[in-house]
Symmetry: D2
Amino acid sequence: MSESIDPVSADVETLGEPKVDSPLPFQHFVPHQKKVTMEIPQELHQKEGEEPEFYTFEESGPKESIYFDPSKTKCAIVTCGGLCPGINDVIRAIVMEAYYQYGVSSILGIRFGLQGFIPKYKHEVWELTPASVSNIHEFGGTVLGSSRGHQSSEEIVEALERLNVNVLFLVGGDGSMKAAAAVAQEVRRRNMKISVMGIPKTIDNDIPFISRSFGFDTAVSKAIEAIRCAHTEATGAYHGIGMVKLMGRESGFIAAEASLSLKEVNFVLIPEEPFELEGDYGFLNRLRERLVSRGHAVIVVAEGSGQDLCAKELGTEREQVTDASGNPVLGDICELLQDKIKGYFKSRNMDLTLKFIDPSYIIRSVPANSSDRVYCGFLGQNAVHAAMAGKTNMVVSKLQDRYVDLPLDLVTQRERRKLDITSNYWRAVLESTGQPHSLRNS
Amino acid sequence: MSESIDPVSADVETLGEPKVDSPLPFQHFVPHQKKVTMEIPQELHQKEGEEPEFYTFEESGPKESIYFDPSKTKCAIVTCGGLCPGINDVIRAIVMEAYYQYGVSSILGIRFGLQGFIPKYKHEVWELTPASVSNIHEFGGTVLGSSRGHQSSEEIVEALERLNVNVLFLVGGDGSMKAAAAVAQEVRRRNMKISVMGIPKTIDNDIPFISRSFGFDTAVSKAIEAIRCAHTEATGAYHGIGMVKLMGRESGFIAAEASLSLKEVNFVLIPEEPFELEGDYGFLNRLRERLVSRGHAVIVVAEGSGQDLCAKELGTEREQVTDASGNPVLGDICELLQDKIKGYFKSRNMDLTLKFIDPSYIIRSVPANSSDRVYCGFLGQNAVHAAMAGKTNMVVSKLQDRYVDLPLDLVTQRERRKLDITSNYWRAVLESTGQPHSLRNS
Amino acid sequence: MSESIDPVSADVETLGEPKVDSPLPFQHFVPHQKKVTMEIPQELHQKEGEEPEFYTFEESGPKESIYFDPSKTKCAIVTCGGLCPGINDVIRAIVMEAYYQYGVSSILGIRFGLQGFIPKYKHEVWELTPASVSNIHEFGGTVLGSSRGHQSSEEIVEALERLNVNVLFLVGGDGSMKAAAAVAQEVRRRNMKISVMGIPKTIDNDIPFISRSFGFDTAVSKAIEAIRCAHTEATGAYHGIGMVKLMGRESGFIAAEASLSLKEVNFVLIPEEPFELEGDYGFLNRLRERLVSRGHAVIVVAEGSGQDLCAKELGTEREQVTDASGNPVLGDICELLQDKIKGYFKSRNMDLTLKFIDPSYIIRSVPANSSDRVYCGFLGQNAVHAAMAGKTNMVVSKLQDRYVDLPLDLVTQRERRKLDITSNYWRAVLESTGQPHSLRNS
Amino acid sequence: MSESIDPVSADVETLGEPKVDSPLPFQHFVPHQKKVTMEIPQELHQKEGEEPEFYTFEESGPKESIYFDPSKTKCAIVTCGGLCPGINDVIRAIVMEAYYQYGVSSILGIRFGLQGFIPKYKHEVWELTPASVSNIHEFGGTVLGSSRGHQSSEEIVEALERLNVNVLFLVGGDGSMKAAAAVAQEVRRRNMKISVMGIPKTIDNDIPFISRSFGFDTAVSKAIEAIRCAHTEATGAYHGIGMVKLMGRESGFIAAEASLSLKEVNFVLIPEEPFELEGDYGFLNRLRERLVSRGHAVIVVAEGSGQDLCAKELGTEREQVTDASGNPVLGDICELLQDKIKGYFKSRNMDLTLKFIDPSYIIRSVPANSSDRVYCGFLGQNAVHAAMAGKTNMVVSKLQDRYVDLPLDLVTQRERRKLDITSNYWRAVLESTGQPHSLRNS
């Protein structure tokens, strides 16, 4: 059977022709033109329409000829936004690869996110060496520190120029990837030759064209520890309810995955699937049914779920509030749920013991687990390979089990990924929890 | 050197003379009169005065002649109050010992605490067997369920009579031990021959004559995971503060022990050591100094600390509020601290990133670690030995590394244990944190 | 850009036309003809030639019309070969899916592998229910028990007939998948309508068309605990060497992945990359250089590496020895290495402390970690979906992040997967360890 | 009741009168004469006779007046013998206490055990600072390195003199404590004023007057992971046997404690309780009975058990072999057991699957768990307090939950602790395993 496909070609920008011989002692380089073709489901590419599409990506890896002369190359690493397991692994991998394999002359560590470029903050700049990073992967967080919020891309590029930086590695979330794109644009505008490499970070797993963001696996493994405790508390009391709040502002990936992993969850509430509280098919009655039939219930709530209910309850003015990164401050759905549950059962004279657990930073501040460590190692190495080859304005990605280089705009100019509630994945979650396919009355 | 001491003799009540041969195949029994003498520091005996005292206790263990005929003996187990790691281990040990070693005819599991004895709640009663408990120690919580609150000791004894129970094992906290004493008294009043065995449970480690309550070690090991995350968050931001709330209503043992274990804590606030917020020597200024000199800070707060500050802030009327067990509802010191810290630094134009972690039930709902497992095994076994020997109105205890049988009133009629802030132990905590010896201005 | 590809169509055998309405309450079924196209690298498809190829696979998931009438369907599960993390998860998922979602009438658990079908062994057959499997995923191993070795497919099919089994789920390794194919063939020969579903299990990760076998991730995470200890021992002594033996008879995936995860490994020896002991470029001299320059060394050895050296050392007659499953008994490369290392350093008068760790079953007997749990859940569910739809003679697979149904012969008639030593993956391992690209003199 | 006791007074040697004011900011010092009286069971004091005895010990802790002027005091730390969880914690605690609390001028780290004092080895000497030790407790082993074997106490004292060391902290086992005593004697002979502080280390928990040696708790918690795997393997096969070898040359504490913790062990073999293989009451027949009745068995073997059987099997000449520390090389009881078991069952035509696990260094090379961390912190601090107060020729100990200073000869001149097989403790082990009280025919 022969099939004709028409793949979208996702090519990466380069600074110029690679003319330097790679110093890597390895013989099996990845040809510059090496591409891989993939069928990408809608959930990952986030374009209109429900169908998968074919894309052709540049394969990550070391190139035989490179753009930068390592002995004259200076790198900088900056980490932005909230913590996520594995950031230190990425930093370590970049330093080790750049230093030991390519022999670059210097690697700077920018402190406290993009603030570190801005003179008024007076943060120091660190020189990173193999010795200084050799053990950092044993610890969570980022040794460089981080910060939230926008900084001027002009000032950032001026700092890069002042520091003689040729390659900027930027580890950060959605907003930071947009900042990376702005920096790349400013670099281009000034006709400079600085490679801008994004390493996308999101504990919510909501970045398009990335099958699973780094740290997600670790976060889920910690989340289930909290859920297990909630289950213990729920079964330890008559009509016991254990409620766990998990990260997930606009997508419920952590909540869903944790529920698939720990089979004791009975309700998962996620932003992608609105629900009602009242009515026969609403959440409260379903919860009552569960308690009556089984005596206890475990509820996992993604922090961004039920925002319509919060807004209705609290009025709409708080909608406007945003945090330092410009993200809207979410309504506290768990507080609302606890109030409503208690009121509902009290009005029915039913006893109830409700235990609420908010593991919060516990699931994002831990060191990466072994698979995230391997993953972060590849992200760091591939970022160095791509940068040394002169690629820029891109991010490294693991997509359907393969490492590819992606143009930055693929990541920044599409919607955030959301969990597809028509997918086998979400169906499996529903089967695991046993909750109804809808918690709405119509 | 000869020394004359005058030990307090802590003898345990018995139901009558032991005339039945023990069915245990073992040859090395503990003589009925076997006692151990110990010098008990004030912190443990909780009597007036600061000096240690000598006590003589009955040593735990199997007796050659016992009081109950196992083939006619029926036991019941009930678990009360909040969860604590190791309850299932105690249940399992009681069942295994009673069933396999003594061959008792039946062991009942009373569901949902003392409620399980009261007809109106209609909780079922379980028959516990080796098969039904063989794996329960792999899970946290209590398979029997628990509840809080007072129940009539008359109704409880009537239930024991109705169920033909000869031995009641009661796992519970301070209030439950008082309930056990009331049950024992009611049994005596009715001239019945029921042994009442307390297995004291407190995650706060605040029971006198118990060096370390079961589950405490496990709880501390979980608490440090939360603190480690707080440290990661604190170091991951400019002027980062990580604050962790830990259990400890009237005593700061978990907070103190966790800080000794994880060296990254900079301030520990406990109920036993009041502190001030304002002033040069107050907490806020000390925190500021720490941030200025080291850039970040980790604060561990026992939930019961600073209650005078909460009362002052919130007025006194809420003092009256108590929960189902009759414990006063605590003021939210962590909320107060967060408000005050943010206000203090804002008024000084200092940037700040404060991350608050409340691990709450996560540290009490986990399965027991290996040392608590061994400990709980001995508690359960020794409770069975003592009960079969006809002892009653007592608790089992591990005291200075030895298992002893204690009269119930030793535990119920003294003050709760508090951390001795003049001790080497607290001094070691202060050295570990580096915090000033006082956070008060006078 | 338009591209014409000529994918291999990997279609799955079916028992007949699906005419029964699925009982699943879900609306989003996977159409029977739904296929996904993938570019498969040589390492995964294991065909001659080094190039990737395109394949079209049937997507896993529930079908709207199914073949078997659930109320009349009886299933059987059997687990074969060595243990692997996640087997219990697969069993649990099959039972829960078949019972709760499809409502099949009965699910049998065959005990101790294929022996369980053979009358002479007299193993009982279990009835599996949701209650009996609800907690098994918390434990490693297989509740059904397992065994190695060949059994007659005629006898197996006779047992299936005797037990009225319509669907056989067989969890097992390479040999067991061949047994599954033989059973399917025998079923076909007899014109019976029994679905044979393979769930491929291999801790060595060496099955073609499966990106990562279930349990592999967990095994690696345990392996690194052993390696970390070896590193501690190595650094704790002058000229300290820590050597760890890991699974991997013909492929070094666990050894390689563990070394990528734990950065402290200095030498990885795998079956795919032969090495020499003597000579300037041989292992012993490289090890000496490492000790002289850094003072210690950590060596990870896949059990199947260096078999040519073992054969040479021990003569060739032992080549013939095979175990119950027909696998050749490997030469003990770690013993050989220890002898050679000690002799080499002794002859050079160099002090040495060599600590050898063989974690053996510790890395395969543990419960699945959270990501393997999710994975195994999908494998079990998808096996049930496929079987109920009438598919047979197939295996479920996760391939490049998607779940697909594969014809059994894809898995059984290709070579076992081997690590591609010309790949970026192996290069990354070499970079991580810092070992030379070859330990051979020519 | 008044009781007259005649306690043994265990006084510690001092270098001279303490005349320097302690720099500690703390007000609650421990008076120089502060003693605690304890009733010590025979198992702990290891004197002839089975009865407990009373002892009076000096309480550990900071003294108001001290002997050494901190600003002129130089310390040295050396770690000897095999690894044990918590050594780094002890090192860290000594450095932090000496540096931050006392302000000593310098702390040297001697590398690779006593070898580090001997010029011919040419090991460097490290300067230890708070910065260099701040994270070491997160890692197992010893940062200083260790070695086995005897070194001349004259050479050691000469090195101390050459390095101007006033206080030597020696972390080590039985042999090292004897070396410490020899060093203290040589110091006295030369009329020098050097404090010699022992911190006893033994993973076997076999040191008299120490209730539980540091690291033991951690080791047990790791040992049970191996046993759990053995249990999984045993239940995963027909007539499955899981055998685990644990440390314990002359005492079975780890094996016994691990079996108390993990309830799945069916036979524990320890050095203190000899056993026979053959005969109705011998091990092999008991094992057969267990397999017949329950289908599987888990056996935990302390490495030093059954040495009489090994000697008989192998002849006596190997008795003479000793390792670098002078300890006799043990016969391989596990190999013997495996051979005998296989032969026994083969001769009875019984199928058998035997899986052997030797976790070896995995249980001793891990970082200390939270309770060992706290413990090691106190040991280090108390060693510094005692040394600064001018005490010498002593060890720090935790005995029946209190920290006391012990004369070195209490520890070095008594027998190694053995598990008392007439104790409640061993009885509890037997009850937990269900094994017969004796595996001997007479």
